[in-house]
């Protein structure tokens, strides 16, 4: 079996942002401003579990700047067998479709992949659109919001999953190869082992450039068909809290309920 897990390095969940002249900057009070996208941890874990059950290789793949090696090292430390960084100045500024084209080219080049796994979305752009677009460019079936892989049979070429939708859980069966995105419910990501961290730190991660891939269609800022340049801090919430105090909880409840009726939210 060969699985590819597509990951992204993102700002940490506790990062504090500022915008100056349209440039987004961030820092983290905990001192680790960039992390493996938290949603991707579940995808990495699920890919490793597939490998543990079926043998074969799990390749971690990202498209991004050189610094994204750090996130790939986390994947290696968790147990991925290989990591590949795709990095090229001409890829910078791609929209989701451009990124999907590059990922599809890298997945095709890896050869004989049965399943590509993604986290539900990346916590920076928060679009969650690259998954389906990568599948469309590969001509593979997308299965999004997967909460459980119920059956995975690389020999028969089939997969059955539960997807978490607004109204409940849908069970779907599909033919491999597939692109899936996973939600948090699917597993509990492992912590990297000490040996894993040592191995990851010693690893040399191969870097592929545009010249190494046959990307089909436009990529980079010039091909992007969406303009995201106007980013700004949200206006502060115009509320100051009214703390309700009274002698009894019944009285507090009565006052609060009065307010909520006045607000017309009941």
């Amino acid at each position: 079996m060969k699985a590819i897990v597509c990951i992204k390095q993102t700002p940490s969940t506790t990062a504090v942002f500022s915008v100056e002249n349209g440039n987004v900057n961030w820092d983290d009070p905990g001192g680790k401003p960039n992390v493996l996208n938290p949603w991707d941890e579940y995808a990495v874990e699920e890919a490793i579990r597939l490998q543990e059950a079926h043998g074969g290789d799990v390749l971690a793949l990202t498209v991004g700047p050189e610094s994204s090696q750090e996130a790939l090292k986390t994947c290696l430390a968790m147990g991925c067998s290989e990591a590949i960084l795709v990095s090229d100045d001409t890829f910078a500024g791609s929209d989701t479709l451009g990124t999907a084209r590059v990922l599809a080219a890298a997945i095709r080049q890896a050869g004989d992949v049965q399943i590509a796994l993604f986290g539900k979305q990346a916590i920076d752009g928060d679009t969650g659109q690259t998954i389906v677009q990568t599948a469309q460019k590969l001509g593979w079936t997308p299965l999004t919001f997967v909460a459980q892989i119920k059956e995975f049979d690389p020999a028969a070429g089939t997969i059955t999953v539960d997807r978490l939708l607004e109204e409940g859980r849908e069970t779907v069966t599909a033919q491999l190869p597939v692109v899936i995105s996973v939600v948090k419910e699917i597993n509990e990501p492992r912590y990297p082992s000490f040996m894993g961290i040592r191995k990851a730190n010693r690893a040399t991660i191969p870097v592929l450039s545009a010249a190494d891939l046959q990307v089909d269609g436009g990529v980079g800022a010039s091909a992007s068909k969406a303009d995201w340049s106007n980013v700004y801090a949200p206006p502060p919430r115009e509320t100051s809290v009214e703390i309700i105090e009274a002698d009894t909880v019944e009285e507090q409840a009565r006052i609060l309920v009065d307010h909520l009726f006045e607000e017309k939210v009941i």
Binding site: T13, F17, V24, W39, D95, T96, L97, I123, G125, D126, T127, G128, Q129, I131, V132, Q133, Q136, T141, P142, L143, T144, F145, A147, T160, L164, E166, E167, G168, R169, E170, T171, V172, T173, Q175, V183, K184, S224, K225, A226, V231, Y232, A233, P234, T239, V241, E242, I243, I244, V249, E250, Q252, A253, R254, L256, V257, L260, F261, E263, V265, I266
Partner: protein, 324 residues
């Protein structure tokens, strides 16, 4: 290229609220651009949905009624919408940013090699261009983004736009054939387990959520009771989900659901920035917490400092009295 197209989501023979909201948002754009509003209705036995779309303001309906479309499958729906857009041209394609709508918008954009801005919470038209306001970095920042190609493909969040109202219109839908035959589809929906009886967090106008302060699985009982009295949905913070007190589908926040109710009552939730990312667009937030310094009070309109196990039942009793 002309026409503002909206994809109408429906389930079990009924148009979903998000479908009505897309018709409402689409009507505004169509009027602004001076173009017809076209509703796309795909499924099986959907004639009534088409009738309702006309009533809610659609100028035209393009429908496809086929067994292969009975279940939503993006690889059946996507190519058909792609083909229609290629053949007839549309200036804008709108989707609700639901699990299905997001998948479909992404597929159609990939198929048309078109730009896409997903997940809008605000929308305006500037010189024919749809400018979409959407949260980025899990709501810590906002972006005003737009598509630079045609058609402009966007998806819009639920409960961010008012639903279309009945205009008493009617019309004749145009029915087309599916683009992909069942034989060429490799996915099968083989089961569905609905989260029945519970109000969906995404659609709820009132949400009552519990966090670490509820102390255990049984601590959600008064929280659920208040949600039930108000006809609302119950939610939870990550801390409560991670502790195993309540299943993941209840989680509100950065790694859970993003909700936008009229009223959000946070019980025993400290309000970490990750939780705020999932509920900061609620109209009115009520915080109930032992700790007067909990960050949730900074986001709240009303707060009560104290024991949630006394306050929440008192609120249920008071609401029961008023609501009869």
């Amino acid at each position: 290229m002309s026409g503002v197209w909206v994809w109408i989501e429906h389930r079990d023979g009924e148009m979903k609220a998000i479908g009505q909201e897309m018709l409402g948002a689409g009507r505004g754009i169509a009027d602004n651009l001076g173009q017809p509003l076209v509703a796309l209705i795909l499924g099986q036995d959907v004639a009534n949905i088409a009738t309702l779309a006309f009533d809610l303001g659609a100028d035209a309906v393009i429908g496809c009624d086929d067994t292969s479309l009975a279940d939503f499958r993006v690889e059946a729906y996507g190519p058909l919408i792609g083909q229609l857009a290629r053949e007839r041209g549309s200036s804008a394609l709108l989707f609700g940013a639901t699990t299905r709508g997001r998948d479909l918008a992404a597929w159609v954009a990939a198929e048309l090699d078109a730009g896409l801005v997903p997940d809008g919470i605000g929308l305006k038209v500037e010189n024919g261009t749809l400018v979409v306001t959407r949260p980025v970095y899990t709501g810590k920042l906002l972006a005003d983004a737009f598509v630079t190609s045609s058609p402009q493909i966007i998806s819009l969040r639920g409960r961010a736009f008012p639903p279309a109202e009945s205009m008493g219109k009617s019309g004749q839908a145009e029915w087309v054939q599916p683009a992909v035959s069942e034989d060429d589809l490799t996915t099968r929906i083989i089961g569905f387990e609905s989260s029945e009886g519970t109000v969906s967090l995404n659609d709820a106008t009132i949400i009552v959520s519990g966090g670490r302060g509820v102390g255990g699985p049984e601590g959600f009982q008064p929280v659920q009771e208040l949600a039930d009295v108000l006809g609302g949905a119950m939610g939870a913070s990550r801390a409560a989900v991670d502790a195993g007190w309540i299943p993941y589908e209840y989680q509100v926040g950065q790694t859970g659901k993003t909700v936008s109710p009229d009223l959000y009552i946070a019980c025993g939730i400290s309000g970490a920035i990750q939780h705020q990312a999932g509920m900061r667009t609620a109209k009115v937030v009520v915080a109930i917490n032992k700790d007067p310094d909990a960050p949730i009070f900074k986001l709240a309109s009303y707060g009560i400092v104290g024991d949630l196990f006394k306050i929440v039942p008192a609120l249920s009793a008071e609401f029961r009295k008023r609501l009869g």
